[in-house]
């Protein structure tokens, strides 16, 4: 396994069987995939494409039918590997009778953390995911978005080296989405390797450096996102502050030069950007002030206000 890869699979296959051991579905077929250290890697695919199954095999929750999985250079079942991983599942599986504080304290105890350390990290993470006000309310009464925040906080309790996130932004409001995406970019900039799946392709585009696309358990495409999305024959100029007459002149000039018709567009901002600018500009970026231990764990590279993506 190459030293720079945090995840590597070779010929990975998973066949689900029924009670009588008869094969029912082959969810992952001969998957060869490598995730390099640092950056955000997106695993995409339609429903039933094998994304979650792959992630569960990476976490040791499912055993591969054949093939090899290496996570941080070792078998996923190795407890030393598990100590360096953070995981947030697609659905926030939380004990309904616990409060967020108790939930985080519980997961901190599974990492063998001292109580004082666990208390400090719990407080910081609760503040970071904006649940300080609901820290002592039972999780069972939370909305889906609040539960997702608790799920994210528990994934970060050990300041992980590798973060595996299944649909991290599902169920979150636009502000929450943006905060999570900003957090992921910041963590990645600090050296945390992130593997995420998402159906929200705009989110993936915002956050990921590299993506792999799975369909029917087979790897269909993989590469840097900028390279995969580039349209080789097209060039776009973006100019601000010119009137329509000047624009028409420039257009006809270019048409004469290239000998083909030129399409003229007036770009608009995304709805997300508009919403954030209108409603919550002052709130974005606040998250990075709240979890110093994460900043420490990634070498102090998290910069306040590093919110743009």
């Amino acid at each position: 396994m190459a030293e720079e890869n945090v995840i590597e699979t070779r010929g990975l296959r998973k066949v689900f069987r029924d009670f009588w051991r008869r094969p029912t579905v082959e969810a992952v077929k001969d998957l060869d995939m490598a995730v390099a250290r640092g950056g955000v890697f997106g695993l995409l695919g339609p429903n039933g494409s094998g994304k979650s199954t792959t992630i569960k095999m990476l976490l040791g929750l499912l055993r591969p039918t054949s093939g090899d999985v290496r996570v941080l250079g070792k078998q996923p079942s190795d407890t030393a590997v598990k100590a360096r991983i953070g995981y947030m599942p697609e659905v926030s599986h939380l004990h309904h009778f616990l409060t967020p504080r108790e939930t985080l304290m519980y997961y901190a105890s599974l990492f063998g953390m001292r109580r004082s350390e666990a208390v400090r990290r719990t407080a910081e993470l609760l503040h970071m995911v904006d649940l300080g006000h609901a820290a002592d309310r039972a999780v069972g009464s939370f909305s889906k978005g609040m539960a997702r925040r608790v799920g994210l906080a528990q994934a970060l309790i050990n300041a992980p080296e590798l973060l595996i996130l299944d649909e991290p932004t599902s169920g979150l409001d636009p502000i929450g989405c943006r905060e999570v995406k900003d957090l992921l970019r910041t963590l990645a900039a600090g050296g945390v390797s992130i593997l995420m799946t998402s159906h929200l392709l705009a989110d993936v585009e915002d956050v990921c450096d590299r993506v792999a696309i799975l369909d029917c358990g087979v790897l269909q495409a993989e590469g840097r996102i900028a390279e995969l999305l580039r349209l080789p024959d097209e060039v776009r100029f973006v100019v601000s502050g010119i009137d329509e007459d000047v624009a028409a002149e420039l257009r006809s000039e270019i048409e004469q030069r290239v000998g083909r018709a030129v399409r003229q567009e007036f770009p608009s901002m995304s709805l997300e950007a508009f919403f954030l600018r209108t409603v919550a500009q002052e709130r974005v970026g606040k998250v990075f002030e709240t979890a110093p231990f994460l900043r420490e764990s990634i070498g102090g590279q998290v910069q306040k206000g590093n919110t743009g993506s």
Binding site: T53, R63, S77, A83, I85, H93, Y106, A108, S109
Partner: protein
């Protein structure tokens, strides 16, 4: 070396923190569930209301019987069922709701998860048991004060010594050899089956003492009795015609160390089927620093051979010498320890089932096993697989016998029966129960449970 020790210490501390975390989670789950509130209500009802509702026979002995057997028996039964079903739910419910996968992706071993949950159940059980026993004891003290029970009526704790007799298996072998020499062995039964039946019969065998006849038994005390201590003789019996038949007789208790010293007790006009009388060791003329270790008891039936009935008794079970065995409170504590160890075993069993099956299946299997354990003994006693060639009958008997064999050691101690009869629960019995039920079997179940959890795929198919 020091470095290695420090490292080991750090690892142990981390392990303890993990187990404690899991235990706290399980305890919170229990304390915040409605089922536990219902169980606590039932416990309170059983401990406080039941003895008030159920009427005794008016004697202090009857009151004590009800207080101890009803209160503690009911509480223990509730705790057994609750512990087992709660244990069956702990892993199964977490697996069902995909909660366990959130824990197993953290650096925690399945064994630690198992141990944490077991410890939580054990602590809760110990607290409930302490409350039940505390309540029973408080009620006993209250009744003693309210009804001004005599010294002799108060609950006691006594060593029980049975007569020195050859073990049932030796007697069974002798009878077997005799039957074989007369060619009188049953043709369709194996040697093992015949011996088992003979052994059971030897243990339960009734001997008859007819009017004018007598029987003698020798007792070797494990714990000698000292100066001015009381020795109680107890003989239970049935009569040939009815249990209320008039019986007369003389009991002679002789010290083996001082054969010249004996006490005769005349028994006349008693119609109950139990004789109990107390002899002070000063009656044997011993000095203050002396103690007595061996006794001989002779019962002579003085009834009229023409009209009185003979008495029937099982020498191994019905004749006993009772000597002082410590305080009632200590006996109560020993009973609680035995009950605690049984609960520890049930928790371990339920947890391991819970790691294997879904909650309904685990709870069903656990309940069936519990019922089989309770009835297995009687089925194994009354039925023999050689009685019938019917496959179903044979299979049922064999299953009952297997369950009885597997659980007989775990269920051997009967602390409540001893407690209500004022018999000391011997330290050997307590130690065996703790080691077997509280340590060895839970350890076996822990290894099994850990192995199953490691082998199981905990991520649901997606």
């Amino acid at each position: 070396m020091i470095c290695m020790l420090r490292q080991a210490g750090r690892r142990s501390a981390v392990c303890v923190r993990r187990v404690t975390g899991v235990a706290l989670l399980a305890a919170r789950a229990a304390l915040r569930s409605k089922a536990v509130v219902a169980m606590l209500t039932a416990l309170v009802a059983g401990s406080v209301l039941l003895p008030a509702v159920v009427k005794g026979d008016g004697t202090p002995e009857g009151e004590l019987q009800i207080l101890l057997s009803y209160t503690l028996g009911f509480s223990f039964a509730i705790l057994c069922l609750t512990t087992m079903w709660a244990a069956c739910a702990l892993f199964a419910a977490e697996i069902d709701r995909s909660l366990l996968q959130m824990s197993v992706v953290k650096p925690v071993r399945p064994f630690d998860l198992w141990l944490g949950k077991w410890c939580a159940l054990l602590v809760l059980d110990v607290l409930c048991l302490a409350a039940a026993y505390g309540s029973a004891y408080a009620q006993v003290r209250w009744r003693i004060a309210r009804d001004a029970w005599d010294e002799l009526e108060r609950p006691t704790c006594r060593h029980v010594t049975r007569p020195v007799l050859p073990p049932p298996e030796v007697e069974a072998r002798e009878v077997y050899e005799e039957l074989r020499s007369h060619d009188a062995l049953p043709k369709d039964m194996s040697e093992q089956a015949v011996l088992r039946v003979l052994e059971e019969r030897a243990a339960d065998k009734y001997d008859v003492i007819n009017p004018g006849g007598s029987a003698a038994w020798r007792f070797d005390l494990l714990h000698p009795v000292g100066y001015a201590e009381r020795v109680t003789v107890r003989i239970k019996f049935d009569t040939e015609f009815s249990t209320r038949e008039h019986v007369t007789g003389v009991c002679r208790l002789r010290s083996l160390e001082r054969p010249e010293a004996f006490v005769d007790v005349e028994l006349n006009d008693f119609t109950l089927n139990e004789i109990e009388f107390i002899v002070d060791t000063r009656a044997f003329g011993i000095a203050e620093e002396e103690s007595l270790r061996g006794f001989e008891l002779v019962f002579r039936h003085t009834g009229d051979p023409g009209s009185a009935a003979g008495i029937m008794l099982r020498f191994r079970q019905d004749v006993a010498l009772l000597t002082p065995g410590g305080t009632f409170v200590a006996n109560l504590l020993r009973s609680a320890i035995v009950h605690g160890s049984v609960l520890a075993l049930l928790a371990a069993f339920g947890l391991t089932l819970s790691a294997c099956f879904s909650y309904p299946v685990a709870a069903f299997v656990a309940t069936v096993m519990l019922v089989l354990t309770m009835v297995g003994n009687s089925v194994a006693r009354v039925a023999s697989e050689d009685d019938s060639q019917n496959f179903v009958h044979k299979a049922g008997v064999r299953i009952s016998r297997a369950v009885q064999f597997a659980t007989s050691r775990a269920m051997r101690a009967e602390p409540l029966a001893s407690l209500t009869r004022g018999e000391r629960i011997e330290n050997r019995v307590v130690a065996e129960s703790v080691l077997w039920n509280g340590v060895t079997l839970p350890l076996v179940f822990a290894v099994m449970g850990g192995w199953i959890l490691r082998r199981r795929e905990l991520g649901d198919p997606t």
